[in-house]
């Protein structure tokens, strides 16, 4: 039985008014008296809904409208048209009551006070979210176990590394244990270890508290490790809304086989392999790579042919990386294949 969605967004649009500036001295004088404006549509009739406990990746190229959507969902921006209902609130209309029920992290910004110790910001947040001392201590303990933030609680934020700051910001956003967490590029600029910490933490809170998570990211490992569902957006429109697995199944068409032969004489014989729709590259003296469309060719047949025509020392079969799929989607066209 489908329950009431936690987030429901219907025909949501946002237009920004921008001013065209005329150039040159005369243009500058004209600008003083009359400014021409134009409307730019950042989000264009977007609809989706998210159930409690889901972890959804909201992805798209730069300027696609991801952040604008998140800012409308968090009650910061007022939509130009369309409806948003989150947790029975209309975010922008009931902002102060609504934001008590969500956690927000913007990867490029911090909600902690820059010049004072992290713990002071936490104390403030405890009071404004009305968290009891017991809950506060308990949650700080949990956060510390996964994120290891205890060591720098007494350091001013400006002295923290980006990874340390991000961990603190995550903890800050979750101090009041909100049922819903919005993350805008939470792993931007972080090193591998810090990214791993944060992904681990997000999985843990999702499992432990059924926290619903909506995150935007350019990091495809984030998606692979965190999200079962993807929303792909470009130029303000939703291009894809569905499981990551389905996207892979439908769009993962290119496979590649890498293999190494025993000696360079063998290489000559491989010429017989090349044919229409199959790319054969020589990576180095003894290593070759075949890229092919898995719909047109059977992987097993190809391997058999390779083994028959040369003495193979080593062989590796790989899927196309998810980046390639996303790139094809952004370039346009690719999704026609999925629309079914």
């Amino acid at each position: 039985m489908a329950s009431e969605p936690l987030i429901s967004v219907c025909e949501l649009s946002k237009q920004f008014r921008t001013y065209r500036r005329r150039e040159g001295l005369w243009g500058g004088i004209q600008n003083l008296f009359h400014r021409e404006h134009q409307y730019v549509t950042a989000v264009d009739r977007v609809s989706f809904s998210i159930q409690r406990g889901e972890m959804v990746g909201y992805i798209g190229p730069n300027g696609a409208g991801k952040s604008t959507t998140i800012k409308m969902l968090t009650g910061i921006l007022v939509p130009s048209s369309g409806e948003i209902v989150v947790n029975n609130f209309v975010p922008w209309r009931q902002r102060t009551a609504y934001v008590k029920t969500i956690g927000v992290v913007f990867g490029q910004r911090t909600q902690l006070w820059w010049d004072i110790a992290v713990i002071e910001s936490f104390k403030l947040l405890r009071r404004i979210y009305d968290v009891s001392q017991r809950d506060f201590d308990e949650r700080m303990e949990t956060f510390n176990q996964i994120l290891g933030i205890r060591d720098y609680l007494h350091t001013p934020v400006r002295k923290l590394s980006l990874g340390e700051r991000m961990r603190c910001d995550l903890a800050a956003a979750l101090l009041h244990n909100p049922p819903l967490l919005f993350l805008d590029e939470p792993t931007i600029g972080l090193d591998v270890v810090a990214k791993d910490h944060i992904r681990h933490f997000l999985r843990a809170i999702n499992r432990q508290f059924q926290t619903t998570v909506l995150l935007t990211t350019h990091d495809l490992d984030d998606i692979e490790e965190l999200c079962r569902r993807l929303l792909i957006i470009d130029r303000g429109r939703v291009l894809y809304d569905g499981p990551l697995a389905l996207l892979k199944q439908k769009l993962l068409r290119i496979k590649q086989i890498k293999f190494a032969v025993r000696d360079s004489e063998q290489a000559v014989r491989l010429a017989s392999l090349s044919r229409e729709g199959l790319e054969l590259d020589r990576v180095d003296e003894l290593t070759f790579r075949i890229r092919f469309d898995r719909v047109k060719f059977s992987t097993a047949d190809l391997i058999r042919q390779i083994l028959a025509s040369a003495e193979v020392r080593d062989l590796l079969i790989e899927d196309e990386p998810i980046e390639e799929i996303i790139k094809r989607i952004y370039a346009g066209g690719a999704l026609l294949e999925v629309s079914a």
Partner: protein, 277 residues
């Protein structure tokens, strides 16, 4: 029970005041130089007014617009002392946060944005009261011939009026700061406000020195309650009942301007654009 509920409502704002206090502690050096700046200002005005009163002492019994030199010097000294308390930088900070897009981080907090800025200013002013106003007052009182307040009642009313000055400045700064939402860059507006208030608050020259038409206009504006009203009360130029009326008008302006700020901010929010990220 009601008082308890109110204290719960105020609890988050007390935290913002605390943060404002600690935050400014991080820059305490700025305040040692602040004391010197205020001393220099008072010294400059001391010499200016002594020079201005030179001819008056010989001709008109030593008073100008009802002020003798001693009152004038007290006016200037106490004026700068309370200025160190009521001054705030809400508009500058808001302008910065809007321009940088940091304002988004304020909007995700479950508090009134206006209340938050005021609470932070309370914390900062409390800090300045201890580290700037108090030492500056002590030093100025030692160096310059500052009169004591007219009476105990006058002094209490003076304090109430000065609290009003702080809130007036806070409310006005918030209104100006909100202009950053539609206008983006409000540096010139902040500068214009600065000089307008220095002049119309009566800090530079008492309103009594203004030409009659300007005095008449000023009566209907909130600005003279920032410096002129508390200083008039301090000097005993107003009777206690006149003083009480002055304080009441000042606080009424506070209510009006806070309400205007609340509405203006709500309206501005529907137009907000946030850059970056």
């Amino acid at each position: 029970m009601k008082i308890l509920a109110l204290s719960d409502t105020l609890a988050p704002y007390r935290e913002f005041s605390r943060i404002g206090f600690i935050n400014i502690l991080a820059f305490r050096l700025r305040y040692y130089t602040g004391i010197i700046t205020y001393l220099i200002n008072v010294t400059v005005y001391y010499f200016i007014w002594t020079a201005v009163y030179g001819p008056a002492l010989k001709t008109s019994g030593g008073t100008i617009a009802g002020y003798d030199l001693g009152q004038m010097l007290t006016y200037v000294s106490v004026g700068w002392i309370i200025r160190s308390f009521y001054w705030n930088t809400i508009d500058q900070e808001m302008a910065y946060e809007v321009l940088e897009g940091k304002i988004a981080m304020e909007l995700i907090k479950p508090v009134s944005v206006q209340g938050m800025w005021l609470a932070r200013a309370v914390g900062e002013s409390a800090f300045r009261l201890i580290l700037l106003t108090a030492p500056a007052a002590a030093i100025i009182a030692l160096i310059f011939p500052v009169h004591a307040p007219a009476s105990a009642a006058h002094f209490v009313l003076f304090l109430a009026a000065t609290a009003g000055s702080f809130l007036l400045m806070g409310a006005i700064s918030f209104l100006i700061g909100t202009c950053a939402v539609p206008l983006q860059s409000i540096l010139s507006l902040i500068r214009a406000k600065y000089w307008l208030i220095e002049l119309l608050s009566g800090l530079l020259i008492p309103i009594a020195f203004f030409p009659a038409p300007l005095r008449a206009v000023s009566r209907w504006l909130p600005f003279e309650h920032i410096a002129y009203t508390p200083l008039q009360i301090y000097l005993g130029k107003l009777t206690p009942s006149e003083s009480l009326l002055g304080v009441a008008i000042s606080w009424a302006w506070v209510a009006v301007l806070l309400w205007a700020g609340h509405l203006w901010w709500k309206r501005a929010l529907t137009k907000i654009t946030i850059h970056g990220g």
